[in-house]
């Protein structure tokens, strides 16, 4: 669909385009992280590209790769009706030092999308006007959508009541389970994984 855009990018930026492919109908260009802002500016302002809209900006964690994090932006052109996906790879094996330029100056919506990306993956956006957590609270430690964050590891803001305080067992499984006549109970996934091994 937007092969022409990819061609244009290749002509203009050459070696800064690391690889290209097409998946699910969208052409993708993986670019050098240092050229992120420059390429985004080109894609927005070049009349042949005219990507006025940033549909989404997020990241993916690949723990087995270095650089480990992949920032993905989906662009759409309202005037041309075409889409393109651009990606860039940042961070070392631990995901440290993941840093790229912000695109807030090009698309206003990037403000909150980049905050989410920072909150969930720990990617720093240079020049962002207000880089704070957006979904989690400021006291939260770590970045929950990284694959090495244990999903069940809660960081409560309010200390949980103890069984003594409550005067009863307030274990998570209670009060719902087979004893209450329900045909479902909570699965203990950790235990199931251990049993399977």
């Amino acid at each position: 669909m937007s092969q022409a855009v990819i061609q244009l990018l290749r002509q203009k930026f050459g070696a800064a385009i690391v690889e290209t492919h097409a998946q699910f109908g969208d052409d993708t260009a993986v670019v050098e992280s240092s050229k992120w802002l420059e390429i985004a500016t080109f894609l927005k302002n070049d009349p042949a590209c005219a990507f006025e809209m940033l549909s989404d900006l997020s990241a993916v964690d690949y723990p087995e790769r270095t650089p480990r994090l992949e920032v993905v932006a989906h662009l759409y052109s309202l005037t041309k009706g075409h889409r393109v996906r651009i990606k860039t790879r940042v961070g070392d094996e631990e995901g440290e030092g993941a840093e790229i330029d912000t695109v807030v100056g090009l698309w206003g919506t990037a403000n909150w999308l980049e905050r989410e990306c920072f909150d969930m993956f720990g990617v720093n956006f240079r020049g962002h006007p207000d880089l704070r957590r957006i979904l989690m609270y400021p006291e939260f430690q770590g970045h929950p959508l990284r694959k090495d964050y244990p999903a069940e590891k809660a960081q409560p803001l309010v200390a949980y009541r103890t069984d003594e305080e409550a005067g009863m067992s307030i274990d998570k499984q209670a009060p719902f389970g087979p004893h209450e006549g329900m045909s479902f109970a909570r699965n203990d996934w950790t235990k199931r994984a251990e049993d399977a091994n």
Partner: protein, 195 residues
């Protein structure tokens, strides 16, 4: 508070006097004049609207219709929906601002146990943060279940019993059906389709 009190007995005679115990009278008065504070956070709110609207009329009939959006004026906290970790301090504060006597109703599985949000985002049941009187399971619970829960709470208020209580399912279709599946047929087809 220990021994559950009998419900109100009005031994009336022709002169128009009634005798009762003070606690029982208070309990009777309280259970029919609950002022709710709806703490509505998620999808269960839709079912809450269905409950309070005319078809079920699930709160007005029990003297619990008037909402009070100030915790100081309300005595029944309805926790309707998922409580995220980020929201837990707010919930706790609202609860602490309510005047005694106060009751808490967990509406839905999320409020009761965290539901399927079994991860870092969600408080696994409001009883981890504040005391809870009645748990209403269901995702979301049907209005009938909520009405059962409200009546259960009324019984508890009347008897002064503060132990947590759970609404039992009226009928579990999965357990009731023969092969574990719920089958829906048009009326009459089951008997041979003569109608």
């Amino acid at each position: 508070m220990n021994a559950p009190l009998k419900s109100v007995t009005l031994d009336g005679n022709e002169t128009g006097f009634a005798t009762t115990k003070l606690d029982a009278l208070l309990g009777w008065a309280r259970k029919w004049s609950l002022f709710k504070y709806p703490f509505v956070t998620a999808c269960c709110g839709m079912e809450f609207m269905a409950l309070t609207s005319p078809r079920f009329d699930g709160t007005a009939r029990f003297g619990a219709e008037a909402p009070r959006f100030s915790p100081r004026q309300s005595d029944l906290l309805w926790v309707v929906g998922t409580i995220s970790q980020r929201q837990a301090p707010v919930l706790k504060r609202i609860y602490e601002q309510m005047m005694e006597p106060k009751w808490v109703l967990a509406f839905g599985t999320c409020a009761s146990s965290g539901g399927f949000y079994d991860n870092y985002t969600t408080v696994p049941g409001i009883d981890k943060v504040i005391p809870c009187d009645v748990y209403i399971p269901g995702c979301p619970p049907r209005p009938e279940a909520v009405i059962d829960g409200l009546m259960l709470l009324q019984d508890k208020i009347a008897s002064g019993d503060r132990r947590p209580a759970i609404v039992k399912p009226r009928f579990d279709p999965v357990q009731g059906a023969q092969d574990g599946l719920v089958q829906i047929r048009k009326k009459g087809l089951l008997e041979g389709g003569d109608k």
